[in-house]
């Protein structure tokens, strides 16, 4: 079992190492990082790539550790007793399994995501120490011990709103997801929006030359508007060298090969060049 990122998820080398270490050594992995760096998504993609079930436990300010284990549904039992239901005699009928219990039961080593653990009460992590360490807990009502058949892969995320207790931290591996640099960021955007730039460029050109109607567009953009728009779309693909290089043969070509979709788009672009250059 090892994780190498997926087609939807760009994982840095450190992150892959962290995840694989957590899988191999059966330790929970605590993930921190700025919002939007893909902490939650990591668990989703990890489960997908390992082909196992993802059990998500989203933590709120009101979440109690006990809810992750099980809850005793006293209200149902009370109602059943009033209605004279036979179920009422067996307390087992009123034990509602929590996310941890589900994860412990699963025989195909699942991924358990404990999302945004810092949202919970300050004591929450401490209440889970034993359960995450031993991967077992005791149900008082039925006098039984629930023990994990396969230790689940536990991914815990935090946004750093509260500090986590030391005892808890000592039991986890910890990885901080760095904010991606420009190169990584491009790859991430590429994964999510593979053809967006080409589509937008083609769309702009086609609509400008009245080849296609753009819904919601009241008037056709003027050439200057369109040119500004194109610049905005391609700005970051033009290297400073290309800008300085006034060699006529290179002035246009670097743009279209890379950015335009097909020959028709290239022709439209050239037509626009001509108009702009009058």
């Amino acid at each position: 079992m090892s994780f190498n990122g997926t087609s939807n998820y760009i994982a840095s080398d450190e992150l892959r190492l962290a995840v694989n270490a957590a899988i191999t050594l059966e330790r929970p992995l605590l993930i921190k990082g700025e919002p939007g760096t893909g902490k939650t998504m990591l668990a989703e993609e990890l489960a997908a790539s390992l082909g196992t079930e993802l059990i998500q436990w989203h933590i709120k300010s009101t979440t109690k550790a006990q809810q992750g284990l099980y809850e005793y549904d006293a209200v149902s039992r009370l109602r059943d007793s009033q209605l004279g239901d036979d179920k009422v005699h067996d307390i087992k009928n009123y034990i509602v399994k929590g996310k941890l219990w589900h994860a412990f039961e699963n025989t195909n080593r699942p991924v358990l995501l404990i999302d945004e653990i810092d949202k919970a009460d300050i004591e929450f992590p401490n209440d889970l120490l034993q359960e995450l360490d031993k991967m077992e807990f005791f149900v008082y009502e039925t006098r039984e011990t629930v023990k994990a058949t396969e230790r689940p892969i536990v991914i815990i995320t935090s946004n750093n709103e509260k500090e986590l207790p030391d005892a808890f931290l000592r039991r986890c591996f910890f990885h901080y997801i760095q904010f991606p640099d420009q190169e990584e960021m491009r790859r991430i955007v590429e994964v999510h929006f593979p053809d967006i730039k080409k589509d937008l460029l083609a769309q702009a050109l086609e609509s400008f030359f009245n080849l296609r109607d753009i819904p919601g567009l009241k008037k056709k953009p003027s050439t200057s508007e369109l040119i500004d728009w194109l610049k905005l779309l391609v700005a970051e693909d033009i290297s400073p060298e290309a800008l300085k290089d006034k060699d006529s043969k290179k002035a246009i070509p670097p743009l279209y090969g890379a950015l335009l979709k097909n020959e028709q788009d290239i022709h439209l672009f050239e037509k626009l060049v001509f108009m702009a250059r009058r």
Binding site: L200, P215, T223, E236
Partner: protein
């Protein structure tokens, strides 16, 4: 796509995240805006900025980035005519070509275009933004202009929408500017800590049900106290003298704090805290309360906020008898330390602009006494101060 733009925003310290950039790209993909930079500006702001105090930063970053974008010469002015001529022959319809002919043939037209290009270059040599002259094409599908090629344009179609961000309408909302009552309230809200305390007057549903269930159905009513902001605040205001210039800010801070905190106590002092502080400024001197009494009366869980410009002679803090109003047996610094020793959380808010702090020795001394927990009385400063108050 737009990754450079995104990093430009972060360079301007906008706290925007990857998922917000994805939102923007998704909106572009769905065609929410099209070929309209002003609309793009609004859309980008909508997606990437989540606080009006950040609008100004966004405007600055956008202007910066967009200026760079405008300077891109997308088409290269030095493409040879032969190349273009070929393109024209290849891509213009027969109809269009006929119209070109009517204009005196391609050569004639190229000449006109060249002249025009030259003219345009001359006209724009002063500016550094490259401007496309749009909408007057003799060829485009938009139709042919029988008057011939219009030379130049009636008016400079310089990018008018740039004004939207160049105006920087949201400058006043930026965090480092002065406060209004509302801004202060929002800042103070961060100091909230809700807790249930006092008498039980609210029905506690979960426990009532639980108790009833345990009672085998016999009703067992449980009550609980109402949730309140449990933060207790003790404020000391410097009044008179150099503080007269800051009356407005202090009044605003006071009124905001008053509505925000249930447990708020305040006292006045002049320049530096000495053995006595007072509650009613008209009767200062007569009705002072000993600082020892203040320390004994209020628990150490009160958060202490001093408000003053700390602008005075250094001796007013460090020497006995330094006070300008009376003879003080012990130096102000000692009284300050007594207060800070008792109350665990204390900060100083200074209405004096931070740029000037270095010029006053007394501010430096007070900073040391406060262990650097002195903050300017601005939204940002208040935010920092509240963070410091929260620290354990």
């Amino acid at each position: 796509m737009l990754v450079d733009f995104f990093f430009k925003l972060r360079e301007y310290q906008l706290k925007t995240s990857l998922s917000e950039l994805m939102d923007l790209l998704r909106a572009l993909q769905k065609g929410v805006v099209f070929a309209d930079i002003e609309a793009f500006y609004y859309l980008a702001r909508l997606c990437l900025v989540k606080d009006e105090s950040q609008y100004d930063k966004f405007d600055k970053a956008f202007a910066d980035y967009f200026e760079g974008v405008q300077q891109i010469d997308l088409f290269g002015k030095d493409i040879p005519d032969e190349w273009l001529r070929k393109e024209i022959e290849r891509h213009f319809s027969e109809e269009e070509k006929a119209k070109i002919k009517a204009l005196g043939g391609l050569d004639e037209l190229m000449k006109t275009l060249k002249e025009r290009l030259a003219e345009q270059e001359k006209r724009h040599q002063g500016g550094n933004k490259w401007i496309g002259t749009g909408g007057t094409s003799p060829f485009g599908a938009n139709g042919y202009n029988p008057e011939g090629v219009r030379i130049g344009q009636d008016k400079n179609r310089n990018f008018s929408a740039a004004k939207v961000w160049d105006k920087r309408e949201f400058k006043d909302l930026a965090g480092n500017v002065e406060l209004g009552t509302r801004n202060i309230k929002i800042a103070l809200r961060k100091l909230r800590k809700f807790a249930r305390s006092g008498t039980s007057e609210e029905l506690d549903m979960p426990h009532t049900i639980e108790g009833t269930a345990k009672n085998a159905g016999l009703l067992d009513i449980q009550m609980m106290p109402v949730r309140r902001n449990a933060i207790k605040v003790l404020m000391f205001f410097d009044v008179g003298g150099s503080m007269d210039a800051h009356i407005k800010e202090c009044e605003e801070l006071f009124s905001a704090a008053h509505t925000e905190f249930k447990h708020l106590e305040y006292f006045y002092f002049h320049n530096c805290v000495y053995e006595g502080v007072w509650k009613d400024n008209k009767r200062r001197g007569k009705e002072t309360m000993s600082v020892f009494d203040v320390i004994h009366k209020y628990g150490s869980d009160y958060k202490v906020i001093f408000v003053g410009d700390a602008t005075m002679g250094p001796y007013e803090i460090t020497y006995p008898g330094g006070s300008v109003e009376h003879w003080n047996e012990e130096p102000g610094a000692l009284w300050m330390q007594r207060i800070l020793q008792h109350f665990k959380h204390g900060i100083w808010l200074n209405p004096q602009p931070q740029e000037y702090w270095n010029y006053y020795a007394s501010i430096g001394i007070m900073q040391d006494i406060m262990e650097q927990r002195m903050y300017p009385l601005t939204i940002d400063g208040l935010g920092e101060a509240i963070k410091a108050l929260h620290k354990k």
